[in-house]
Amino acid sequence: MRRARLLLCALWQFGSPALAGAQVEASFDVGVSRLRQATVPTGNSFSGGATLDWLGERGQLRATMLTSRQTESRWTGQTALFGSLTGDSQSPWWQLDVAASNYAQTSAAPTSSAEGAARARLGTGLRGLAAGLGGGVSVTGGHAAGVSRALSDGWWSVGSERLVASFGWTRTTPPPAFGGRTISYEDLAGGWRHETGVVSVGASGGLRFQSSSGPDADDWELVDATVWFAPHAAVIVTAGRTLTDFVRGTPRTTWIGASIRLTATAHRSLVARRPTADGSTPRLVVTRTSAQRVVLEITTQHATRVEVMADFTDWQPISLERGQDGASWRAERPITAGLHRVSLRIDGGAWIAPGNLPRADAGTEAGVGLLTVP
């Protein structure tokens, strides 16, 4: 039991950005789903998984592991590793991808695959196009087959919305369980995602077209929603239908499921933590109205006079004007962009730092806040 606790603790710490590096995030999922797979009766499934994401300036790496208990005597397990590397600029023109996977199920030979691809890119991370070629190998039991792919993708982000489309051609020789003949097919896919930080909703789907000796034309669909109800926990609901993955050996599946995701990295969530006493100090909000001028605004109830002094007032107090709502106080001044030191006073009291700003160093700057003006 103690070992189990230590293991959990170690996993938690491994996911902590402070210890494991800035752009590392680990998450753990547990859930239930109802699913139907080829050759298996429809039933309920319990699943557990872990994902480790590493995000760098030029690349990303994702490792996932998922295990599922579908019946008393049937288990499936899937591990996968995806990596990408791009050119060194904000609009890189090339991208290299690698993917490796292993899929295993009770009483069946496991399937392992390894692939690589190179793509030429056009555009930026917000919107762009990519096209390229890839290849690899898929091994099931003693059966090894080469994989050839031609890939093209497009992506477009506007605000919280993200649209993605792809078209790909694949040629491989699947294991005997999937026919055993060399096939080729095209996949056309599209997707949309709405992401606010607290809620993420996505829908995607695709069509697979038969080519030489390939499977019949078919389609797949996927919808999912993630809600972060606490900084370290989210509930996820998914439903969909996937097609047979001839390269990774996963069968056609239809499912609906729900799971809980736990992560070490804090997210914006529906639930805020308890307020502290210091939260009552008025906030200072700045808005640039022109290249030179900035509006300072403080909201405070029941005040009769609000003053600000700062480096941009040459440390001379200036009075703010009360707004029509009676609670907001404003002043407009020319202020340069960058860091400024500012202090405020309510009704002639002590000079204090605005509640939303970090305090400047103690000593000569007690009661002064650090404000960044855009």
């Binding site: 030029r58 991370g125 790909g168 606010t196 996937t242 993955d245 210091d278 160093d361």
Partner: protein, 220 residues
């Protein structure tokens, strides 16, 4: 005759401007010794091409809050030293607001290497706002390394100065009102901006899980 008149006017104009500049950097406050020593520091900084007005502003504030004279002199000296370091660290950025941000970051023990990294992340644009947010995060006890990563990532992903400034101006409120740790609050604000920006890695843009033909649809 007309030429000599013009030359004389130009000379007077230059002299007046020099006097004006000196007056604008004149420090009056505290006792005579403090005034003299601070004034010497300010003039030495101006002679080195440093934004001496920043030292003057800080010294005036110290007087306004009745800081003892020796402490004012010490503060002015330290600031002048940091400005020299800041000037070298963020070159070729030389605007006063950029130097003010770099100096403030140094006052919170942010390593010079981090300033260089931010300077190189935005070589052609002013970096006063990113440096300001860096300083705010470090003042909030976010580790300098992580704070620098957040700022440089936002720059590289095309965040606007308003978005960057809002992050710095709100993390402290999340700590005080939301009850979060500063690091968590900074990460949350950073993650919250993510959907509105280019992906952290440009590679991620083309690798939306479940959508690319190379990765195939996501399984349950």
């Amino acid at each position: 005759m007309r030429m000599s008149c013009c030359a004389g006017l130009v000379a007077v104009s230059i002299a007046m401007r020099a006097v004006g500049a000196q007056d604008s950097l004149r420090f009056v406050g505290g006792d005579a010794t403090t005034s003299r020593e601070v004034q010497q520091i300010i003039e030495a900084a101006a002679a080195q091409g440093l934004p001496a007005g920043l030292i003057l502003s800080k010294a005036r504030f110290a007087v306004a809050v009745h800081t003892p004279g020796p402490k004012i002199v010490e503060t002015a000296k330290s600031m002048a030293t940091r400005l020299v370091v800041a000037q070298r660290a963020i070159a070729p950025h030389a605007q006063e607001s950029d130097l003010a941000g770099a100096e403030a970051a140094l006052s919170y023990d942010v390593p010079v290497e981090i300033l260089r990294r931010i300077s190189s992340a935005s070589p052609k644009e002013p970096i006063a706002v990113p440096l300001g947010v860096l300083t705010q995060l470090v003042a909030d006890r976010v580790p300098a390394k992580r704070a620098a990563e957040i700022v440089t990532d936002l720059l590289r992903r095309g965040a606007t100065l308003t978005q960057i400034a809002e992050l710095g101006n709100n993390v402290d409120a999340d700590v005080k009102i939301g009850g979060y740790r500063a690091l968590d609050a900074a990460n949350m604000r950073y993650n919250g901006l993510g959907p509105h920006l280019a992906p952290l890695s440009a590679a991620a843009a083309a690798n939306e899980p479940g959508l690319t033909s190379s990765s195939g649809p996501k399984k349950p």
